[in-house]
């Protein structure tokens, strides 16, 4: 295995483009190293991105945010303004693994690992986050939801890499939330994850995005679920419709972490609970 520490994205792309065999980018390493040690993926070329300028920055970008690809979960949680703007995204990232994992794991890594159960991904999708991608054929901006294409797979071409994550301006009277279900209180992979991002006009929901994780091969943006609560004050009937729409959108599998029935049911429960939190946050922000 070759180990590289390029000092620019251009250098990193150049190494990746010419690399033979399996290439992996290393940021926090909390997935890459597990796969390496368990003989699941042994990269031939490992490109450590942490020496590239600016990768550890959380910066304002207009009224939104730019988050570097090596920013750890712990650094996000410790960032007060980011946390108050996008509590759902920050909490989702904070749910990934232990305190130790938080010291290393990154949003970009969580996304590129391609796990359908990645906690931060539904939160980013609900938040309409985008990523900047650079590669041998130049740079592009991609919606977060378009990166994963299936378990362990992404839409990134050979030599392409993410250079930063962008969260849009929070806007007024808005809030987001992410909840996941795990059997224990910590340390598990999400059995179901649900993010809700909404905006209010007075008490009425004017805009909403509901995203689900771990209930399909990729993250789901559930438009029917959003429709169920847009125009409402999140009354009980709206919540029931939201839950039903979330459950209806599920296309899960039965595996060691949960059954089809369980995931489908709990997706609705979490949608309801997350929507209430997002709604409270939006109200508090007004």
């Amino acid at each position: 295995m070759q180990y590289h520490t390029p000092s620019s994205f251009d250098d990193a792309v150049a190494i990746a483009k010419d690399a033979k065999g399996v290439t992996r980018f290393l940021a926090g390493g909390t997935d890459v190293l597990v796969q390496l040690r368990a003989d699941i993926v042994t990269p031939d070329v490992l490109i450590d991105v942490k020496k590239i300028d600016g990768v550890s920055e959380i910066a304002r970008e207009g009224d939104g945010w730019r988050i570097g690809v090596a920013v750890t979960g712990a650094e996000m949680t410790e960032h007060d303004t980011l946390s108050s703007d996008w509590p759902g995204v920050v909490e989702a990232m904070d749910l990934v693994g232990s305190t130790q994992i938080q010291g290393r794991a990154t949003l970009t890594g969580n996304l590129c690992n391609g796990s359908p159960a990645a906690d931060s991904v539904p939160a980013m999708v609900a938040a309409e986050a985008t990523v900047s991608v650079t590669g041998p054929n130049g740079a592009r901006t991609v919606a977060v939801g378009d990166i994963p294409t299936g378990p362990g797979k992404t839409s990134l071409a050979t030599g392409e890499m993410i250079t930063s994550v962008h969260l849009p301006a929070r806007g007024s009277n808005a809030g987001d939330a992410y909840l996941r279900f795990i059997p224990r209180t910590e340390m598990d992979i999400a059995v179901v994850g649900c993010a809700v991002n909404l905006q209010l006009d007075g008490k009425k929901i004017t805009k909403a995005r509901v995203a689900l994780g771990a209930v399909a091969p990729t993250v789901l943006l559930v438009e029917d679920a959003a429709k169920a609560i847009i125009g409402t004050e999140l009354d009980d009937a709206a919540l029931e419709q939201l839950a039903a729409a979330a459950s209806a959108a599920c296309n899960p599998i039965t595996d060691k972490r949960g059954t089809i029935e369980f995931r489908t049911h709990v997706a609705g429960v979490l949608a309801r609970r997350a929507a209430k939190i997002a709604y409270e946050r939006a109200e508090a922000a007004s």
């Binding site: 368990a38 003989d39 279900f181 059997p183 224990r184 209180t185 910590e186 340390m187 598990d188 992979i189 059995v191 595996d255 060691k256 972490r257 949960g258 059954t259 029935e261 369980f262 049911h265 709990v266 429960v269």
Partner: protein
């Protein structure tokens, strides 16, 4: 004090919460565990394992692995002794597969190389050709007519005729006439239960360092019993037992799982072949796939009760799957099942069943927790349906001194009633439960064990003591041993150093299991110390020119026993040891025996659980352990045993399980998906130490290590039933199972 006197009062050191002598090393990282040692010229090894649940090994080609640079040797079954039989053959079959791989993870070859990475690379180059055979992993399916035969001819003659060849042993015991008993009952409940296999889950993977010379060898390993390792390894390598010296490292948890050997013979074989020291450390995945979890079970229980709470009869059938080898502890499951209750009519049957899973190993009160889960669940349901208080019903039927045990004998002094009374008096039992929460209780029982034990206590010139015991210290036993020695010698606790001796320096010691260490090594320590005291008194007597019997030992001084003995100034221990070389030679007390008086231990647990009815998630909100310790030598570590056992039980009840796929492969071989309790899952675990002295120990000690895992499974099932209104009959009570039960109840 007379040699055999029982002491129950006026303890000076015993009963104190002393600091453990190995504490400093363990908080600074200095303590040497299994994987922490190196030897000059050491090689590293890795084991090739079967990916198949059941397969004939057609061919093993090691040539590519051997050709890799840095590889020094490869071993297969051919490198081990031939002609073994019985238990030794089973252990060897498990350590290194012969004709067949019997489970996913079964070892088939091993390599030694100059670095761990090269060893791992070489492992992947060993080519094994398999002929895949049909497999079975479920206990009920393994007994079914169409189940594949795993190891033909294994069954012994206790197995009733007509059973599948995978049923290899049968147990039946009890007394009275259960049918007559059921006829007397006002309510009879009959139900079936299942529990999945759980792993001991010690945080330290198995590790060892082996060094073989010509016909002899040295082995360093983490084990619960190094004499057992010596015996088994010697057999598997064809060595004389005394030629293999085994040293027990610090051990990072065992819970029964480190009473067996797995990698030690392999490291020795590689060392013999390469003539270099070889270190072998398991990965976590290997620990889960190839070391002993507990048995999975399938159980049928029938209990009858009168309206006044009298249990009229109990019957249980217990089917235990113990992997591809005989030995599932079904007889303990059977014998423990009804042990807490004084029953006129009782019958219990056990079946030992083979399946394509790793050979089960002991796990904390092996077999008992599952039985308690099934029986105590049914008792709870009977109480509920008859409108009776579950604690009063248990008190009414409780086993006590003089009643007949469900497995036959008449009980000696036991403390079940005392734990129930303590539970009744505990504020936890009377506290109101909050909305959404339910309370459950359960009793639990374990036999405890004595076993072969040797201890030596050598006095130093300055009057301090060196105590050598042979039972590895898993949870602070060196402190308890030093406390007992100090108590007898009348010297400060700090003046005793306890060492876990290697196999070359002490007589045989049985494994640290059966909650026997504080009981048996403790008893041996007390007797070795009394032995040394007798010599000390003799030296004083000689000095004073009086009879040896006229000297007594008090608080570290030899004194004349009374006015008739003469007027002499007491002599302190250090004055006697200072001159010991000139007054008869070194003073050493020792004791070797197989103490047979291990008192049984009962416990009662109370638990409050909260169930999220929308997700099926259970949260333990309050937990109290009440257990009979006989006499707590170091209460802090007794509490620790209570708490640790309870939490292992919580894990077993709620989330831990072996999950096999259709392909017979273990799907959750990492701590990620083998979900042991984490700190945030739990409340504080309250404890009450009940002390009903064991007549078989000089201070009344009963083993405490195991019983604490017996009640939690049922106590939590009973609490879940109270909180959510559904009775879970299958473990773990994972959220999908609870939600499915709630759904079934709601929709009929």
């Amino acid at each position: 004090m007379a040699f055999d006197e029982v002491k129950t009062v006026d303890f000076k050191v015993v009963g104190q919460r002393v600091k453990r002598p190995d504490g400093m090393d363990k908080v600074t990282g200095k303590a040497k565990f299994g994987a922490d040692v190196v030897a000059p010229g050491m090689l590293h090894a890795a084991i090739v394992r079967s990916p198949h649940a059941h397969a004939r090994i057609v061919k093993i080609d090691t040539s590519k692995a051997e050709a890799l640079k840095g590889v020094k040797g490869v071993v297969t079954r051919a490198d081990f002794a031939e002609g073994l039989s019985g238990g030794n053959l089973d252990v060897l079959e498990n350590v290194m597969a012969g004709e067949k791989a019997l489970y996913d993870g079964h070892a088939v070859a091993a390599v030694a190389a100059i670095s761990p990475l090269i060893a791992r690379d070489a492992m992947k180059l060993v080519e094994v050709e398999y002929e895949i055979l049909p497999h079975v992993t479920d206990v009920d399916k393994a007994m079914g007519a169409d189940a594949p035969v795993i190891r033909a001819g294994t069954a012994d003659k206790t197995v009733p005729e007509g059973m599948h060849a995978n049923v290899v042993r049968y147990h039946e015991s009890g007394h009275g006439d259960v049918d007559a008993g059921f006829a007397e009952a006002d309510l009879v409940i009959e139900d079936s239960f299942k529990t999945e296999a759980t792993h001991q889950g010690y945080i330290e993977p198995h590790a060892c360092l082996a060094s073989m010379g010509e016909g002899n060898g040295d082995l360093w390993c983490c084990t619960q019993g190094h004499w057992n390792v010596q015996k088994l390894c010697a057999a598997m390598l064809g060595l004389e037992q005394s030629q293999l010296r085994v040293t027990a490292s610090e051990i990072g948890g065992g819970f029964g799982g480190k009473t067996a050997v797995f990698i030690e013979p392999v490291a020795l074989a590689l060392s013999r072949k390469t003539n270099r020291p070889v270190k072998l450390v398991m990965s976590r995945s290997e620990v889960f796939r190839a070391t002993g979890p507990t048995s999975s079970t399938s159980m049928d229980i029938k209990i009858g009760m009168k309206k006044d709470g009298t249990i009229t009869a109990g019957q249980g059938t217990f089917r235990l799957q113990g992997g591809a080898f005989p030995g599932a502890p079904m007889e303990f499951t059977a014998m423990c099942a009804f042990a807490p209750y004084n029953l006129k009519h009782v019958k219990q049957m056990g079946f030992d069943v083979l399946a394509n899973r790793p050979k089960q190993a002991a796990y904390r009160a092996p077999g008992s927790p599952m039985a308690a889960f099934a029986v105590e669940s049914v008792i709870d349901e009977l109480c509920k349906q008859l409108g009776l208080d579950p604690l009063e019903v248990r008190l009414k039927n409780a086993s006590a001194q003089g009643t007949k045990a469900s497995f036959g004998p008449t009980w000696d002094r036991i403390g079940l009633v005392e734990t129930l009374e303590a539970a009744k008096a505990h504020p936890h039992y009377s506290a109101p439960t909050k909305a959404g929460q339910g309370r459950g209780i359960s009793c639990g029982f374990w036999f405890n064990h004595g076993g072969e034990t040797s201890v030596t206590l050598a006095l130093s010139e300055d009057g301090t003591a060196q105590l050598s015991v042979g039972t590895p210290d898993i949870g602070g036993s060196r402190a308890s041993m030093a406390q007992m020695a100090a108590e007898e010698l009348g010297i400060p606790y700090e003046n005793v150093r306890t060492t876990i001796a290697d196999t070359a320096t002490l007589g045989y010691n049985e494994v640290s299991h059966g909650s026997r260490v504080t009981y048996a090594s403790g008893l041996a320590t007390i007797k070795a110390a009394r032995n040394a005291v007798k010599i000390l008194c003799g030296r004083a007597a000689a000095k004073w020119g009086i009879d040896e019997d006229a000297v007594v030992w008090e608080d570290g001084f030899a004194k004349p026993s009374g006015p008739n003995a003469g007027e002499f100034d007491p002599i302190p221990i250090d004055k006697l040891t200072q001159s010991m070389g000139r007054t008869g030679g070194p003073i050493v007390g020792h004791f070797e025996a197989t103490p047979e008086g291990a008192g049984v231990s009962f416990a009662t647990h109370i638990v409050d659980a909260e169930v999220d009815k929308e997700t099926g998630q259970t949260k333990i909100v309050r937990y109290t352990v009440i257990q009979d310790a006989g006499k707590a030598i170091n209460p802090a570590y007794v509490e620790g045993q209570f708490q640790g056992g309870a939490v292992q039980g919580i894990g077993w009840a709620l989330n831990e399980e072996y999950i096999y796929g259709e392909d017979g492969r273990l799907q959750n071989d990492l701590f990620l998906d083998y979900r042991i309790p984490v700190a945030s899952d739990l409340p504080m675990i309250d404890t009450v130490i009940v002390e009903v002295p064991n007549p078989g120990h000089p201070y009344g000690v009963r083993g405490v290590g195991e019983t604490s895992i017996c009640p939690p499974l049922a106590a939590i099932a009973n609490a879940v039933s109270a909180a959510a209104g559904v009775r879970l009959k299958e473990l773990p009570m994972s959220p999908p199972r609870i939600l499915a039960a709630l759904d079934k109840q709601a929709n009929g």
